[in-house]
């Protein structure tokens, strides 16, 4: 049974954490990131591939990542992105915040569910 894709509104704002996390593991160009994002999410994140570029450029502007032109194995020039020290620090901070938020939402939903059942 195919897994449902996640509502876009839910993961809006978390894409930068995911991109930072992917880049921290390995520097990559935009296309490579889009591929890995698709692979890791198994198609559950419905993001148009082009949306990744404004995000990358904004993150670079904020100093979270840096870019450098390099050559691929096919001798094609590609812009490669790397996480900066500031980016790594933001990543660990935002990851902790996200986990805490996810846990809070989880706890709240679990604690409210019996009440909903009673009302029904």
């Amino acid at each position: 049974m195919p897994r449902k894709s996640i509502d876009h509104d839910l993961y809006r704002g978390t894409l930068d954490i995911i991109v930072l996390s992917l880049l921290k593991r390995r520097p990559d160009h935009g296309y490579g990131l889009a591929e890995r994002l698709r692979g890791h999410s198994a198609g559950r994140m419905d993001v148009s591939e082009g949306a990744i570029y404004p995000l990358l450029h904004r993150m670079e502007k904020r100093g979270l990542i840096s870019s450098e032109w390099s050559y691929t194995v096919n001798h094609r020039r590609a812009k490669q992105y790397t996480v900066t020290e500031a980016g790594a620090s933001v990543l660990s901070e935002r990851t902790a915040q996200w986990r805490s938020l996810a846990q809070l939402v989880d706890d709240l939903v679990d604690s409210i569910r019996p009440d909903l059942g009673t009302q029904a």
């Binding site: 160009h29 296309y31 148009s48 591939e49 570029y53 020039r77 812009k79």
Partner: protein, 234 residues
């Protein structure tokens, strides 16, 4: 190479280069995606169509990236201009301050061969202990009965003799006695006779450290004995 990189960071990119980089980055993505579709068996045209479709609104993304880059370019240009103006303002302030200090000492400042040096403070006269010297230079004040009293700023590597420095200061006045006192920054004083140096009876002095050269006036140095060195410092 590092300097060039630094310059590249400081200088804003031309708009053409910004647009070319953006196009190249986005084209790379479309081409790679199309290539993956072709590997899956699609024809070239269809692969390209699907690659663009998956990418989303290409022209909107391109426009967004250009706006982002332009904003950054503007920030870089404004920051660069601000830094330049600040540097010029600091230079003007420092120059004025330096000039004031020199005027207080009533001395002109000259460098041999026009070497530019950093001075931490200018001189104020007799006591060479007042000088704070830049590391790479020594400073020699030539004062008393010379045509142009001056502070000479001399790089350590440069060798200069007493008679040459007095010549560069315009030579002796008519009132000069020929007796010259060399006062070191440690307080030691030595006396030499310029007339005897000129006549070859006494070797010229090589000035290799900061000191004050005072040319005495009021009497003829002809009757003086040869060089006398005495130390006033501890």
């Amino acid at each position: 190479m590092k300097v060039w990189k630094l310059i590249r960071v400081v200088l804003p990119k031309p708009m053409e280069e910004i647009c070319r980089d953006i196009d190249e980055e986005l084209d790379f993505h479309i081409e790679q995606r199309a290539a993956s579709f072709i590997e899956d068996g699609l024809g070239h045209t269809e692969a390209l169509r699907q690659a663009k479709q998956r990418f989303g609104d290409l022209s909107r993304v391109r426009a967004e990236l250009i706006v982002l880059a332009t904003r950054r370019r503007r920030v870089v240009m404004m920051t660069g201009s601000t830094l330049l103006i600040s540097a010029l303002a600091i230079l003007v302030v420092l120059t004025n301050e330096f000039r004031d200090r020199v005027h207080q000492g009533e001395l002109e400042v000259s460098t041999l061969r026009g070497e530019v040096v950093a001075l931490r403070s200018a001189l104020s006269g007799e006591n060479s202990g007042d000088f704070e010297l830049a590391q790479a230079v020594h400073m020699i004040v030539v004062k008393g009965e010379v045509e142009r009293e001056r502070l000479w700023v001399i790089p350590h590597r440069r060798e200069v003799t007493l008679s040459a420095l007095i010549e560069k200061s315009g030579g002796l006045t008519r009132a000069a006695s020929g007796r010259v006192f060399l006062t070191g920054s440690d307080g030691s004083v030595s006396l030499c006779n310029l007339d005897q140096i000129r006549s070859g009876q006494e070797p010229d002095r090589l000035l290799t450290r900061s000191l004050t050269v005072t040319v005495e006036g009021g009497q003829s140095g002809q009757d003086l004995p040869g060089t006398v060195s005495l130390s006033l410092g501890g």
